[in-house]
């Protein structure tokens, strides 16, 4: 969502955006999470016997409770992730807004979403952890590099760790020989 902190002096715009984006984004992420935790109870099980009912939901076959959540086939495909909100605003501005918006505060304080503040002038990042913003310390790790994404996910049906896909990047971003040793390390890892 585009947002310019320079014109938003009283954080009114920030407040409206966070109140909308936070719960909606968190809702989607949590739907995936809970559907993955217990697919039969919180999700709606396999989609095979689903029967669209009254244009409001699905049930199993000809009579059952309306099913909640996501089907098994969606959870297998997408890994549940905690929502990461990166906001172009100072930690103080974010704390002020979160204090007024109870829904956002609940999500952030109870760590259902991760909130990161990027300082509009300095560019310093701070991440909200255990009740306060702490400066973000990057912990650079070299990613395994593959030429095409199938090389990375074809061998397994599990969710996979991040990898750099060379074909997805412009040639200038990935040097010809830059990550060669990492490729070997990655292969050894697998």
């Amino acid at each position: 969502v585009s947002y310019d902190p320079a014109v938003d002096t009283n954080h009114g715009v920030l407040e409206r955006i966070l109140a909308a984006v936070g719960p909606v984004g968190a809702g989607i992420s949590l739907e995936y999470y809970f559907s993955a935790v217990d697919n039969e109870t919180f999700g709606c099980g396999t989609k095979l016997p689903h029967n669209v009912t009254g244009l409001i939901g699905v049930m199993n076959g000809h009579q059952s409770d309306l099913r909640t959540g996501l089907p098994l086939q969606m959870v297998e495909l997408h890994e549940p992730m905690r929502l990461l909100l990166i906001v172009d605003a100072t930690p103080d501005a974010l704390l002020a807004v979160a204090g007024r918006q109870a829904e956002v505060a609940e999500l952030v304080v109870n760590a259902w979403v991760q909130l990161v503040s990027v300082h509009p002038t300095t560019g310093a990042m701070a991440v909200f952890e255990r009740g306060a913003f702490v400066p973000y310390e990057p912990n650079p790790t070299l990613l395994p590099v593959v030429d095409r994404s199938p090389e990375w996910h074809m061998c397994t049906r599990q969710h996979v760790t991040p990898a750099l896909v060379r074909s997805a990047l412009p040639a200038s971003a990935v040097g010809q020989r830059q990550h060669l040793e990492v490729v070997e390390a990655g292969v050894a890892l697998r």
Binding site: L48, P49, N51, T53, G61
Partner: protein, 358 residues
């Protein structure tokens, strides 16, 4: 047996059965389940061979490249006890060729659709085994030239249908629905079984021969036979008062629901009546009852559709309404119209069922 028509007819039935037997043996004897790919390949090959054999039979029926073939094709005896003989005889005529090719093409299409639709489903291999079994049953029913063979295919369709409804056997509701359908089938299939035995008493055992000799039946005998066939057809095609199992049958996976209750299995009862039409023809009483049953089912189902809230249940009743109309058409003697109506209706419903979940 070296005659190409014999080979094609045998392949149409035996190819899906062979692939099912191979996959089934792999499941039973192998130390781990066959992979999705193995099951799909084997069953698809069986189904495709069946389709090609159907095309070859159609070619023979039309007289492509040689004299046209029509009538009974003998394969020797299935059973012989003294003078009592059950012949293994298949039949080539307009109705059997249409239904055979039609059913095999639809089954192959559903197999292709299910390959991605059921990907990673725990019952994937089981689904394809049942699909191949169903293909065997439909080919046997479509091509049978004697009531005994017809009955065998009819039962294979019934049993695979019950297994598909109870596909998710870890839940109680599908199993309950499956038993309901199975019980209805058992009750109405008794009609076909009794009719088969009665035909042996009244006539020579073949459908075809009965067609030439139906005129020699006493009116009473014809009416009894026709009513027994009608009961059997009503059960399979879910006509009143047997309609209850059809909406419950939607517990199974979507592709099998489409194939069974939209396209092929639901029309099997109508096909039976087309097959034994000569007997029906000489029994006005049975035909009158058939018209009443068909029309009342059509009215009942059309009314239910208006108020049904779930997609598959509404489709089930919409299917019933049309099937009731076709039953009435057959009983009024419009068999060609009925066959056309049947094929068009099956194609439409197949697509509608497949699209129902989205």
């Amino acid at each position: 047996m070296s005659d190409p028509v014999h080979v094609a007819l045998a392949l149409a039935i035996l190819a899906p059965f062979t692939s099912v037997a191979v996959v089934g043996l792999l499941m039973l004897l192998g130390n781990r389940r066959p992979s999705e790919e193995t099951a799909v390949r084997l069953v698809t090959v069986g189904l495709l061979v069946s389709v090609l054999a159907g095309v070859a039979v159609l070619g023979a029926f039309w007289g492509v490249a040689r004299a046209a073939v029509e009538g009974d094709i003998e394969f020797g005896d299935w059973l012989r006890i003294g003078d009592f003989v059950i012949p293994a005889v298949l039949r080539v005529d307009g109705i059997s060729v249409t239904i055979s090719l039609f059913a095999s093409v639809l089954t192959a299409l559903i197999a292709r659709f299910s390959r991605t639709y059921l990907h990673k489903e725990p019952g994937f291999v089981r689904f394809f085994v049942l699909l191949g079994l169903f293909a065997t049953g439909t080919q046997l029913v479509a091509l049978a030239g004697a009531l005994e063979l017809f009955f065998a295919g009819w039962e294979i369709i019934g049993i695979s249908s019950a297994f598909f409804i109870g596909f998710f056997h870890e839940r109680t509701e599908p199993v309950r629905s499956s038993i309901r359908a199975f019980a209805t089938y058992r009750f109405s299939d008794a009609g076909l079984l009794i009719a088969t035995v009665a035909t042996l008493e009244f006539l020579a055992p073949r459908v075809s021969r009965s067609s030439t000799r139906a005129g020699t039946l006493e009116p009473f005998q014809a009416t009894v036979l026709a009513l027994l066939f009608l009961v059997s057809a009503m059960g399979k095609s879910a006509q009143l008062p047997f309609s209850g199992w059809l909406p419950r049958a939607m517990e199974g996976p979507t592709p099998s629901s489409a194939l069974f209750y939209g396209a092929v299995s639901i029309h099997a009862g109508l096909f039976l009546l087309l097959r034994v039409w000569p007997v029906l023809e000489v029994s006005p009483a049975a035909r009158a009852i058939g018209v009443v049953v068909g029309l009342s089912t059509a009215v009942y189902a059309a009314l239910v559709v208006r108020v049904h809230t779930d997609a598959k249940g509404a489709l089930a009743h919409a299917t019933l309404a049309q099937v009731g109309l076709i039953l009435a058409e057959i009983c009024m003697g419009w068999t060609t119209l009925a066959l056309t109506h049947l094929v068009c209706h099956a194609l439409l419903r197949l697509g509608q069922y497949l699209k129902a979940p989205t």
